[in-house]
């Protein structure tokens, strides 16, 4: 494989990993605070739909992004009310949210645009367009570094850079701020946080809210940057892959980046079966590449290769002692 093909492959890896990374970090905040979230998929889907339709209607992608975040936050609020306020089953709530998004997006899209549950194609200012980083054109012809900078690092949409910056930011928030310390504590031992006089409910709602914002950006990226418009079920299981990546990364921010890049690479390879054939000399079934993130996650969960231990208070509603 020559350098240019490799760069193209890595370039699409980055593109495909971005929504996974955003959703994965979203899940990280929620689950570190003790709220399991299998509704990542639904929030992304709802955000994808709202961002695309509002971006189309207003012609401004930034307003679309805000609308997408808003839609995702509404679902987050439902999840929060169900699993924090009413102490319901977090897993069942997540399942309900996924179905709610899958159904509502098509029903509303059909009545709004009457195009069989899609939004019209987005163009121009209604989409996130690639950004050329400074000196990219000038450096283009420098051997090795030039193509890497021009092809791989420059030329992505703004949200890709946002996603990458969110990783160190999350690391800093979780491990260097008081809020982060409390957030992690509430996922391990909420009673201790409560005893210290900090609101468990408040912290958990904050975490679920951050999760909503990040899922909203992930969904908006799908519909307004990766593709030009919303199509039915366009999140296509990415929320679940993000969940798998989160387990793979053992609920830590930097490993989230590597895990989502790995899963992004698998998706990129599934789109280019000819590349594998050429480099390896034999063909790998694309179905195997599709299933690989899930198989890897099962293996990790089973503790055959490293053990993934979730936050201790995850999944359990907190009941204040009387």
């Amino acid at each position: 494989m020559d350098l240019l093909t490799l760069l193209q492959l890595l370039d699409s890896t980055v593109r495909l990993a971005t929504p996974l990374l955003l959703a994965c970090i979203a899940g990280l905040y929620s689950e570190r605070a003790g709220i399991f979230d299998i509704g990542l998929e639904g929030k992304m889907l709802a955000a994808a739909f709202m961002s695309a339709s509002v971006a189309y209607t207003t012609g401004n992608v930034w307003i679309g992004l805000l609308a997408g975040i808003g839609a995702s936050l509404v679902l987050s609020a439902i999840h929060g009310v169900a699993s924090i306020t009413f102490r319901g089953n977090q897993l069942i709530s997540g399942v309900a949210i996924n179905f709610l998004a899958a159904g509502l997006t098509v029903v509303i899209a059909q009545s709004w645009f009457a195009q069989g549950g899609r939004t019209p194609q987005l163009a121009g200012a209604a989409r996130f367009n690639p950004i050329t980083l400074p000196f990219a054109d000038a450096l283009r012809d420098v051997p090795v570094i030039g193509p890497i900078y021009y092809e791989l690092i420059s030329g992505h949409t703004a949200l890709v850079y946002v996603a990458v910056l969110i990783v160190p930011l999350t690391w800093w928030i979780l491990y260097a701020t008081r809020f982060g310390l409390r957030l992690r504590a509430v996922g391990e031992n909420p009673a201790a946080v409560d005893t210290a006089g900090v609101s468990v409910v408040g912290l958990r709602f904050a975490a679920v809210g951050i999760c909503g914002v990040l899922c909203g950006i992930a969904g908006a990226y799908l519909a307004t940057a990766l593709q030009a418009g919303f199509t039915k079920d366009m999140s296509a299981g990415r929320g679940y892959i993000a969940l798998a990546a989160l387990i793979f990364a053992k609920w830590k921010p930097w490993p989230c980046l590597w895990a989502t890049l790995l899963f992004g690479l698998l998706q990129a390879l599934a789109l280019r079966p000819d590349l594998i054939q050429r480099t390896l000399g034999f063909s790998v079934q694309t179905q195997l590449l599709d299933a690989l993130p899930y198989i890897l996650t099962v293996v990790i969960l089973a503790g055959f290769v490293g053990k993934a231990i979730p936050p201790r208070a995850g999944g359990a509603p907190y009941v204040k002692e009387r």
Binding site: I38, I78, V81, A82, S83, F86, R87, G88, N89, Q90, L91, I92, S93, V95, A96, I97, N98, F99, L100, A102, G103, L104, V106, V107, I108, Q110, S111, A114, G117, G237, Y240, L243, A244, I247, Q285, Q287, L288, D290, A291, Y294, I295, T297, V298, L301, A302, G303, F304, P310
Partner: protein
């Protein structure tokens, strides 16, 4: 301990949750500019107004009875089997292998063999997550989600490869052998003069589903194993103390669950399509969650809830046919049912409990005070 009378728990809460879901769905219909009352009329007319409609309603209900029972039995052991979809996909594979390669002299033999094949494959797919949960501590919800996707990829692989007949472009198996044809309701109930259930896919597997309800009821409430499953679901530590092996209960209840989900394939794969296609399950594995929650994990409740969801499915299809409301409205209704009966259960339960407590307090002092006076 019991704050509420049993009837309130079993009937009142599901009915209130269902009403809330119905009201919200009506609002959605209103919001997209259609008339909810009119929509309800079309749904009732289309699904219950003719034997044709009933034929479809009962066909869907058959699927949902199997997947609903599957989720319900796992609930009894306090496990959330979200993998019904994948188990049903594998069940379809089991049915296909039996029906493609064995020439059966009569459909009844084929039905027994196919049921066994479906149950074995479904159970096999559920045993792996169960074993991993029991022995390796991996969360069953996450592993069964992953297994849904792995099953989809596996089926995709087989249907574009080994199982596709030569020369065919479509990702599907060939037609099953003629001896495996299950009698449909039309063949069973029509007479020469009156044709009933014309063209509807409901078939003899509906009665297998009813039998499964009875068997599961007996299993849960009339056998030692059922007692152990319920005890384990009630309190794992108490069950352990009583000498019940968690590994055994987790593996057995999940394999029964998987077997039931897999057996759905005798209805949709063997009874209706008569060949294995991609996406034959059509989300029935997930609807099983709503059905089990609605039916309070009781086989009779599951039966009623499955009929209700059969009505919603067939009614939703009619709605999509006659109005501009897309079929996905039933996904919204399904989501609301899961949300209200599952996750927001306490929202309905808490005020009701307060109501019954207040009534009891109001009733008690009168009887106590009279002798003192």
């Amino acid at each position: 301990m019991d704050v509420m009378p049993k009837w309130a728990d079993v009937v009142l809460i599901p009915v209130i949750s269902l009403l809330l879901a119905a009201i919200l769905s009506a609002l959605v219909i209103l919001a997209i500019g259609e008339n909810p009352w009119n929509a309800l009329k079309i749904m009732v007319e289309g699904s219950l107004g003719s034997t044709y409609g009933w034929g479809y309603t009962l066909y869907y209900a058959t699927n949902f009875i199997f997947t609903g029972l599957a989720v319900a039995i796992a609930f009894h052991a306090r496990m959330f089997n979200i993998g019904g979809e994948g188990q049903a996909v594998l069940g379809g594979l089991g049915v296909a292998l039996v029906c493609l390669y064995i020439p059966f002299p009569h459909w009844s033999l084929a039905l027994i063999a196919a049921s066994l094949g479906a149950a074995l494959f479904g159970a096999g797919w559920a045993i792996i997550p169960a074993y991993l949960q029991a022995k390796r501590g991996s969360h069953i919800v996450i592993t069964t989600i992953m297994f849904n996707f792995i099953a989809a990829a596996l089926l995709n692989y087989l249907l574009v490869g080994a199982l596709k007949p030569a020369g065919s472009m479509e990702p599907a198996t060939g037609k099953f052998l003629p001896g495996t044809h299950l009698p449909s309701f039309q063949e069973m109930f029509s007479t020469a003069d009156t044709v009933l259930f014309r063209g509807a896919p409901a078939n003899v597997s509906f009665f297998v589903a009813i039998a499964a309800c009875v068997v599961i009821w007996a299993l849960i409430w009339r056998t030692r194993l059922g007692y152990e499953i319920r005890a384990f679901g009630h309190s794992e530590s108490a069950a352990k103390y009583a000498g019940i092996s968690p590994t055994k209960i987790i593996v057995i209840s999940m394999s029964i669950s998987g077997a039931l989900a897999g057996m759905m394939a005798i209805n949709n794969v063997m009874g209706e399509a008569e060949r294995l296609v991609l996406n034959a399950v059509e989300g029935a594995g997930f609807i099983g969650i709503a059905v089990a929650l609605m039916g309070r994990s009781h086989p009779f409740g599951v039966f009623l809830a499955a009929i209700l969801f059969g009505f919603l499915y067939q009614g939703g299809a009619e709605l999509a046919l006659w109005t501009s409301i897309p079929r996905e409205l039933i996904v919204v209704i399904q989501a609301l049912v899961i949300l209200f009966t599952g996750a927001l259960d306490n929202m309905v339960r808490m005020p009701l409990e307060r109501f019954f407590l207040a009534r009891r307090r109001a009733a008690k002092p009168r009887t106590k005070l009279t002798p003192a006076e």
